[in-house]
């Protein structure tokens, strides 16, 4: 195709130029060597948008909806990863969303089981005030949590206290892991995760979290 414009080119074409409507003397358009512009000029001006009460109301609805969706728990924000330094106060006042809490409670009956493992992760707001119960074995905890979960579904009313119990257990779990975490941090220098994340990722019941590289 590139040779088309040069004198001898005519003869090389496999077809008769007149058949496609290009006369003898007419010039072929020059070949383009660059990509088309991103914003090509428009030959025809677009028609204006419809303006009506309906359109305005829909506009308001759209913007309202967009705003509302951002404040619903379905808008997932990843946990803020790094801050300049780790502060002592962080663990008491962070209201940042973390990766492993869920802010609304779905009907777990409708979801696959593997998705709901994290329902037993605590809401952290209440965590620091709870007194620590005595240690329990790992297996025990598993069972109790299972039981609690089913109970919770059956009688939603009492769900509040159960949540608290669960919290206690996880709390204590975190306590156990604390020192370990500290060491990790020192070795890995500046990669600072939020305190609670670590506790849970490690204390986690080895069934799912272990192969996820966190550090």
């Amino acid at each position: 195709m590139a040779g088309r414009g040069r004198g001898r080119g005519r003869g090389q074409l496999s077809f008769n130029m007149e058949a496609v409507g290009i006369g003898k003397g007419e010039n072929l358009p020059p070949s383009t060597l660059q990509p088309t512009p991103i914003f090509p000029p428009m030959d025809h001006k677009p028609i204006p948008l419809q303006t009506s009460e309906e359109a305005e109301y829909m506009l308001a609805l759209k913007q309202e909806l967009r705003g509302a969706m951002k404040s619903l728990p379905f808008y997932i924000r990843p946990a803020a990863p790094k801050k300049d330094v780790e502060r002592y106060s962080d663990k008491y006042q962070s209201s940042e969303p973390t990766d492993n809490t869920i802010e609304w409670d779905p009907d777990w009956k409708r979801l696959p089981r593997e998705l709901r493992i994290r329902v037993r992760k605590p809401l952290k707001e209440k965590a620091p005030t709870v007194p620590r119960p005595s240690k329990q074995t790992h297996v025990d905890k598993e069972e109790i949590i299972r039981k609690l979960e089913t109970l919770e579904k059956k009688e939603e009313v009492s769900s509040d206290e159960e949540g608290e119990k669960r919290k206690k257990q996880d709390e204590e779990e975190q306590e156990g892991e604390e020192e370990y975490d500290e060491e990790e941090f020192e070795e890995e220098t500046d990669y600072i995760m939020s305190y609670f994340d670590n506790g849970e990722e490690f204390g986690g019941d080895s069934d799912d979290n272990m192969d996820e590289a966190i550090y």
């Binding site: 109301y57 609805l61 379905f74 009907d107 409708r110």
Partner: protein
């Protein structure tokens, strides 16, 4: 699924559910059915975040799961539906339609259900009543029973439907399956359920509660918990969730489009007749049917609202006019008439295509386009002659249309050697592929609009934050009863040029947003045309 669709889905997910969900959603859309671990690995996202995102997507019906292929113990697979994600674009229209049909109550119900994906009837009634009460003046409140009646109307007219129930509740509970035993990893949702439009028996009495501004913060922090306790205290409809029936809404949009097309082509009266016909067949015709059930003139006459005062002979005349009309919205089957929905959609889509060509390439190109639509196949010479456009210009326009893929070229060789001199070159317009092409353009346009809007807001982020802060200060000052001078002082913290900038930004964003809404109308038309053509084949 095309690049444009994926891009638009990504933008919509990001805007409504955040970046994490976008990442997971895009991955699912791009890769098809996948298991949890693979998603987490390939998106390199923490497992917990992936789980959360999947919950969100499932909650909103944008993602489905099924048990793995390798028997009941196999891993659960997830797959997302891009069509469902693109519906987000149409949410404002659903809400608006609910408002026009059932007033503010209907609007809020549909809005709540859309925002939450699915919810129980008692939850939505309670939330809506509270919101309505909140907007009323002091001392008045909304009765639950009113909201319940609006809700049941929405269900009766099939705008809301039940989510498919969990088929085997027993195996879904881990406790019953036992810790060691291979429990069913995912609940199975029943495929078909006949009672999807049957209301549960709930008794909700009371009225919406007004939230007091003083305990706002407390409600926010513990809101979820408390709401849950409230709900569990009084709801008898646990586990029965309701979702918006998009097909029913689309059917409504389609009927409206047809009615308004008839109104603008013929007149108001005939549009009322068509409206009556469509309303009569709402119940008897399936949403995807190519035409309505045949209706006799007598039936139509009886169903016409008496306020139109259309007499029988006039109705007959209008019907014969509608039947003779080239749009073919109404056809005659034997001695009774029925509406051809598919043809109506095809006509509307064709009109859309024509107007797109007209607005982009001018009226003379549109003439060529229409000519080709009507005559099907034409040689270049014939196009020039029939369109009555000088050969050179016609050629130019035709080639432009060809290069934009709006017009197709078909070669019909006279001899088997395909020699150009012995070949017919026929130009033709193929509405279905052209509609598809245009649909992709529309998706791209919406994607561009959203990106532009994000860019605009990002550019003046600082300004927006400032104005928000100042508005917050003003509100708190007003609440504490500050003096007017103080208020004006705070107001002046935004300078005049800044105010102008804000105003300009607001204008731009409004324009971009309403463009999105209006492009969606075209998208809807083209989508329904394409899907109706596919089903009628």
């Amino acid at each position: 699924m095309t690049v444009q669709e994926v891009r638009l889905c990504g933008l919509l997910l990001q805007e409504h559910f955040g970046e994490v969900v976008e990442k997971v959603g895009i991955h699912l859309l791009g890769s098809g059915a996948q298991i949890l671990r693979a998603i987490a690995h390939e998106t390199s996202t923490p497992l917990d975040l992936v789980k959360k995102s999947l919950c969100v997507l499932v909650q909103h019906g944008m993602c489905e799961f099924r048990r793995g292929r390798r028997g009941p113990g196999g891993a659960v697979e997830y797959h997302a539906s891009y069509e469902r994600v693109l519906r987000i674009l149409r949410y404002p229209r659903y809400i608006y339609t609910a408002k026009t049909l059932y007033g503010d109550t209907g609007e809020l119900i549909v809005e709540e259900v859309l925002q939450r994906g699915h919810m129980t009837m008692s939850d939505s009634v309670r939330t809506v009543a509270d919101r309505l009460t909140h907007n009323m003046e002091e001392g008045r409140s909304m009765e639950y029973s009113e909201v319940v009646s609006a809700f049941s109307k929405l269900v009766e007219t099939h705008f809301l439907q039940r989510c498919p129930p969990v088929a085997d509740v027993g195996t879904a509970l881990p406790a019953e399956a036992g810790p060691g035993a291979p429990a069913a990893p995912a609940p199975t949702l029943a495929e078909s359920h006949p009672d999807r439009y049957i209301l549960p028996h709930i008794n909700l009495t009371g009225r919406g509660k007004r939230r007091h501004p003083s305990d706002d913060s407390e409600v926010d922090s513990k809101g979820a918990k408390r709401a849950k306790m409230d709900a569990s205290a009084a709801s008898d409809d646990m586990g029965i969730y309701w979702q918006v029936n998009f097909d029913r809404f689309h059917q409504h949009f389609r009927d409206q489009a047809i009615v308004s097309a008839v109104a603008s082509k013929m007149d108001q009266t005939s549009s009322e007749i068509v409206r009556t016909m469509l309303r009569m067949s709402e119940v008897t015709t399936t949403p995807t049917a190519a035409c309505t059930q045949p209706l006799s003139a007598n039936e139509i006459f009886r169903a016409l609202p008496p306020s139109y005062s259309i007499t029988r002979p006039i109705l007959e005349q209008y019907l014969s006019l509608l039947v003779d009309d080239p749009m073919e919205f109404v056809g005659k089957s034997g001695e009774s008439g029925g509406g051809y929905l598919h043809k109506a959609l095809a006509s509307l889509a064709r009109a859309t295509l024509e107007s797109v060509v007209q607005e982009r390439f001018g009226s003379r190109s549109a003439r060529i386009f229409r000519l080709l639509l009507r005559k099907r196949h034409l040689e270049q010479k014939q196009v020039e002659d029939f369109a009555m456009i000088p050969a050179k210009e016609a050629k130019d326009m035709l080639y432009t249309l060809l290069s934009e893929n709006l017009v197709q070229l078909q070669e019909i060789p006279k001899t088997p050697d395909h020699a150009p001199s012995r070949t017919f070159y026929l130009y033709t317009v193929n509405p279905l592929p052209t509609a598809r092409l245009l649909l992709q353009h529309c998706y791209k346009a919406v994607g561009n609009l959203i990106e532009r809007r994000l860019y605009e807001t990002k550019e003046s982020k600082r300004l927006l934050e400032k104005s928000q802060r100042i508005e917050a200060i003003l509100a708190s000052l007003q609440a504490s009863g500050a003096e007017p001078s103080q208020l004006s002082e705070v107001e002046e913290m935004i300078t005049a040029p800044e105010r102008q900038q804000l105003q300009a930004l607001r204008n731009h964003v409004n324009k971009l947003d309403s463009s999105e809404n209006q492009v969606d109308e075209t998208i809807f038309l083209l989508e329904s045309y394409i899907s109706s053509t596919e089903t009628s084949r």
